[in-house]
Amino acid sequence: DSSLIKRTCKNTKYYNLCFSSLKSDPSSPNADPKGLAVIMIGIGMTNATSTSSYLSSKLLSPSNNTTLKRVLKECADKYSYAGDALQDSVQDLANEAYDYAYMHITAAKDYPNACHNAFKRYPGLAYPRDLASREDGLKHICDVAMGIIDNLDW
């Protein structure tokens, strides 16, 4: 049902991201607002896990120096934790614990900041542009999920 998706996305921060993400998911036509939140969180989990794997693969590059490797490892862990937090959020939604669900997504959204800050600790390290766009991507997905949950009845 497109109208439910439109109505739901209207209350989120990034309407276009919300609509295109939910619309392209095959289960969204039959989903209620809570189900839409779960779909969005699932997209966030995929995104976070993908970034964590991407960062881990960078660790294998022989050209990276020791400091960069340490920071990449830390970032890979942070994005993995973000994925875990989103997983917890799905469980909370299933238990109708919307307050915890919201908090866990807030946590997931903050882990990219921790990664970014890790780079800032070393002036010599430049924050990769592709990582910056992945950071924004995950944060925006979290904002959309939080917007949907915010409008559930709690």
Binding site: M103, T106, Y111
Partner: protein, 460 residues
């Protein structure tokens, strides 16, 4: 303590967001750093700090800047989080008068939308512990390694899980309706605590019914551990209801026999003193009922297995894991032991409980925070002590006065031994039950959430 829920209607979603952020932060911080609260709550335009001030005003948070600037929930703040969640779920719509004060819990009437009245129990583990620590000046710098939030939530989780499981097995317990955080909502039990009852029409029947439940609990692999006149409700038809379950243990617990004997003896003493029951007559009655159960009530092997299945499923569904049981048991037993030991031994026990240091300020803040609760707890403790004191006096008087009483004592001991052997034999038949329960593995219940949350927060 006064539970003024009118404040609830003035609190916004942002207020609860900040309260939840502090709650999550407390899983790894005694005092949650203000910066962390702001990062978790993520309000706009510095809104977190405005909300923190509002919550302080309503006494839902406590502020502490001795080591760093931070906050922690008060009991009231935690109450509000649980109550709001319950109200949002439609479990109840209004909170009424307080109807009970335990050592480590408060009980209130709540009303459903249709007017039905239920009971809401708010667990407050740590209340007595603070009192114990406070009375030992030299140990003010120590604190429990688990905070009261975690322990109180465990107590509620356990009570709800056990109440559900016992209800499923036909035990006379309140109907468990919902739980959230440290809060359990259950049906309101009609009647009075047995301790308030001066006369019974059929004391022998009630006595037999109560002992029957003690034995039957053991047959299901459980011992109540606090089965006394304060935790047994009785109505006008003289039907009993058991209440208060956070301290229950398995028959495989190392102190199981001691707890079982204590429960039985508590009931014998109460009925002898209050209703002048003669144990000669009672023993005959009990023998009769025991034989009846032996003949008619022996569960078959398959029944026992189904029973195990039910208990495991109920406990698993509630997320009460073996680790949860170990955590709460360590705390409860520590508290119970220090209550019954001399001062010097008490000191050792309190020290054993404390694994981490904290500054005096934190301890004194916690003490101040719980001052009201402490006085209530103290009153309850005094009452219990008076009761046990008079019981001792009666016992010694009887011992001094005549040989008939000595004979009764011997009969009592003999009967207790018989009851013990009977219950343990039954429990052994259910050994598979115990093994199955103990072998339960965490299947992603609430506890795995907790460990993940701790990992997340620790990494910040």
């Amino acid at each position: 303590m006064k539970l003024d829920v009118d404040v609830l209607r003035y609190l916004s979603k942002d207020d609860f967001r900040v309260l939840t952020a502090v709650e999550l932060g407390m899983r790894n911080h005694e005092i949650v750093p203000t910066e962390l609260i702001d990062r978790i709550a993520r309000l706009k335009h510095g809104g977190t700090y405005k909300v923190l001030k509002n919550l302080l005003k309503h006494k839902l948070l406590h502020h502490d800047s001795s080591k760093y600037d931070g906050f922690r929930l008060t009991y009231l703040g935690y109450d509000f989080l649980a109550i709001k969640t319950m109200v949002n779920k439609g479990v109840f719509v209004a909170v009424g008068r307080q109807i009970g004060v335990g050592k480590e819990s408060d009980i209130f009437e709540v009303a459903r939308e249709d007017g039905t009245v239920l009971a809401m129990k708010l667990h407050r583990l740590g209340r007595v512990s603070f009192r114990a620590v406070k009375s030992k000046r030299d140990y003010l710098r120590h604190r429990s390694s688990y905070n009261w939030l975690y322990l109180s939530r465990l107590a509620a989780l356990k009570e709800f899980a056990f109440m559900k499981a016992l209800e499923t097995h036909g035990f006379p317990v309140p109907n468990a309706i919902e739980s959230n955080r440290h809060c359990v909502v259950m049906s309101l039990v009609q009647g009075y605590p047995l301790v308030q009852v001066k006369q019974l029409l059929n004391p022998e029947t009630v006595f037999e019914a109560i002992l029957g439940q003690v034995v039957r609990l053991a047959e299901h692999g459980l011992i109540h551990c606090d089965f006394n006149e304060f935790n047994i409700m009785i109505n006008d038809d003289e039907k009993i209801t058991m209440i208060d379950f956070p301290q229950m243990v398995s028959v495989s617990h190392r102190n199981a026999q001691m707890y079982f004997d204590r429960d039985v003896e508590c009931i014998f003493k109460f009925f002898r003193k209050r209703f002048n029951l003669s144990f000669q007559e009672s023993i005959d009655d009990i023998d009769g009922s025991d034989e009846g159960r032996d003949e008619a009530g022996k569960p078959s092997f398959s029944s026992i297995e189904r029973s195990a299945g039910f208990l495991d499923r109920e406990l698993a569904a509630s997320g009460f894991t073996r680790k949860n049981e170990e955590d709460i048991q360590r705390f409860i037993e520590g508290g119970a032991e220090s209550d019954t030991n001399s001062d010097s031994e008490g000191v050792d026990l309190v020290e054993d409980l404390n694994e981490a240091d904290t500054v005096d300020d934190d301890s004194s803040h916690l003490s101040e925070q719980n001052e009201g609760s402490e006085s209530q707890g103290k009153e309850e403790i005094c009452e219990a002590r008076e009761s046990s004191g008079s019981e001792k006096e009666d016992a010694s008087d009887n011992g001094e006065s005549n040989e008939d009483t000595l004979q009764n004592e011997a009969e009592l001991v003999k009967n207790l031994s018989k009851q013990r052997r009977h219950a343990i034999a039954k429990a052994h038949k259910g050994r598979k039950t115990v093994a199955a329960r103990n072998s339960y593995k965490d299947k992603g219940g609430r506890s795995s959430h907790n460990s993940k949350i701790q990992k997340q927060l620790s990494s910040w």
